[in-house]
């Protein structure tokens, strides 16, 4: 609890939000990178289908997406059953795991689109040069593709992070708003608005805005300063 302008602010949802946003961002970078690379290399018309599929989570209202995730993730449903096979013991809904999975789905296009564009812009000659210098595929990817895609990776990371921080519908639906476990800032602000505690709502919103502005500026600033021109 923090006392600010005479109002008590519960910090737990803030920490949770940062944690979930960070995890979502990391997972999307890890999962989105091979997907984006694969899509960047594609030439067939499947690419069109895949691009459209990746953009699809945008089209459903988050609450509705959340509702479907509830159905899919239910503890007697096939997805959970499948995971149990691999020794998974918990429940997907009402847990941090669920929040993260939901956010990953919802923010997928924001990660994949910039990554794909960054990968498409890498001159193939550099990869050829690295191959002649005995670098294997993964080695080339790590030492050439990733460093040269920094701008795209940063954009993907910031968009994903910001989007997860502001995410509401999906986490509300899937998370269960359990204080200290799945109550994120967005839900907290919403609850304050609902129960007419506008001061707390303003305070929390203000904090999120200032904090996010700072993070975004830091990231864009770094990007500009260390930006590598590839030509």
């Amino acid at each position: 609890m923090l006392e600010l302008f005479g109002t008590e602010v519960n910090l737990a949802p803030i920490w949770l939000t940062l944690e979930v946003a960070t995890m979502t961002t990391l997972i999307l970078l890890v999962v989105g990178t091979p997907l984006a690379w694969w899509m960047a290399q594609m030439r067939s018309s499947n690419k069109v289908l895949l691009e459209a599929l990746v953009a699809l989570p945008l089209v459903l209202p988050p609450t509705v997406l959340g509702f479907y995730l509830l159905i899919v993730f239910n503890p007697t449903g096939p997805v959970t059953e499948f995971l149990r096979w691999f020794g998974f013991e918990g429940q997907l809904t009402f847990s941090k795991t669920g929040l993260v999975i939901g956010s990953v789905f919802y923010s997928l296009p924001f990660a994949v689109q910039p990554l794909m564009h960054a990968f498409e812009a890498i001159p193939h000659r550099l990869l050829d040069a690295a191959a002649t210098l005995r670098a294997s595929f993964l080695d080339r990817f790590r030492t050439i593709v990733l460093p040269l895609s920094r701008r795209g990776i940063l954009i993907a990371a910031t968009l994903t992070f910001a989007h997860t921080v502001g995410e509401f519908g999906v986490v509300l639906m899937v998370g269960g708003n359990i204080p200290g476990e799945t109550r994120m800032v967005s839900i907290d602000i919403f609850d304050h608005v609902e129960s007419m505690e506008y001061t707390q709502a303003h305070l929390l919103s203000g904090m999120m805005l200032v904090f996010s502005l700072a993070v975004l500026m830091l990231v864009y600033g770094m990007n500009r300063r260390f930006g590598v021109k590839v030509g």
Binding site: P75, T93, M173, G176, N177, D191
Partner: protein, 231 residues
């Protein structure tokens, strides 16, 4: 004549049926705008074009009177919500307290006690029975009573406090499935749902007619059918 009436989400189904009856009988046109009570209040405060307000509790409709937006003398309690304990898995109809005390359920779904009166009363009931501390850590909060119901309907929570209306509606997905127990009215303060005419609709004959219609036996029968008590 026509009117726009803001109605708490939980009452959506019921008031639509009443509205159809009303329109057939009077020829007036009523449009309903549904949403969480707190959100409707915020909208009314910021100039929403609503002629009357049907809340899910008494607090927020009364607040509009304080704010000078509601017509004080038009205020009345139009219905009382009833809480039921529902489960598809446990015999809550025969041994509700034993199930709450000793069953191995992982999650108990209720509406957010902070924003939804159903949730608040459910918590009060649990406290009264000395069960609250026992189940506290297993509670998941639906943002609204509808949301709390979705958790049980999708089997993500095996047990939950929901509204009577949600289990007795023949169209409900749990209709005649599982078991429910009506929490005795003596065990919690009545969930009075308040309604009033807003300043904007003060001279609207359709609103007046509808408010009167809500008090007729025809309307009361419909409300009873959907699980609401009317004194």
């Amino acid at each position: 004549e026509s009117a726009t009436i803001a109605v708490a989400s939980n009452f959506t189904k019921t008031i639509e049926v009443i509205g159809q009856a009303f329109e057939k009988e009077t020829g007036h046109q009523i449009r309903f705008s549904f949403g969480p009570t707190g959100k409707l209040y915020a909208q009314i405060k910021n100039g929403a074009p609503f002629d009357a307000f049907f809340g899910a509790d008494e607090r927020r409709p009364k607040k509009t009177i304080e704010d000078g937006l509601g017509v004080k003398q038009s205020y009345f309690v139009y219905a009382q919500g009833q809480i039921v304990l529902y489960s598809a898995k446990y015999p809550v109809d025969s041994q509700p307290i034993e199930v709450l005390r000793s069953a191995d359920f992982k999650h108990l779904s209720i509406a957010n006690p902070k924003t939804a009166p159903y949730g608040e009363r459910a918590v009060a009931f649990l406290k009264k029975k000395g069960l609250y501390e026992h189940v506290k850590s297993r509670i998941v909060n639906g943002e609204s009573i509808a949301h709390a119901f979705q958790y049980v309907a999708t089997h993500n929570a095996p047990i939950g406090f929901v509204a009577m209306s949600q289990v007795v509606d023949p169209k409900s997905p749990v209709y005649q499935k599982g078991a429910y127990w009506v929490v005795p009215a003596s065990d919690y303060a009545p969930i009075n749902q308040g309604a009033l005419v807003l300043k904007r609709g003060e001279n609207n004959v359709a609103v007046q007619a509808f408010m009167n219609f809500m008090k007729t036996q025809k309307a009361i029968t419909i409300m009873n059918r959907y699980g609401y008590k009317v004194d």
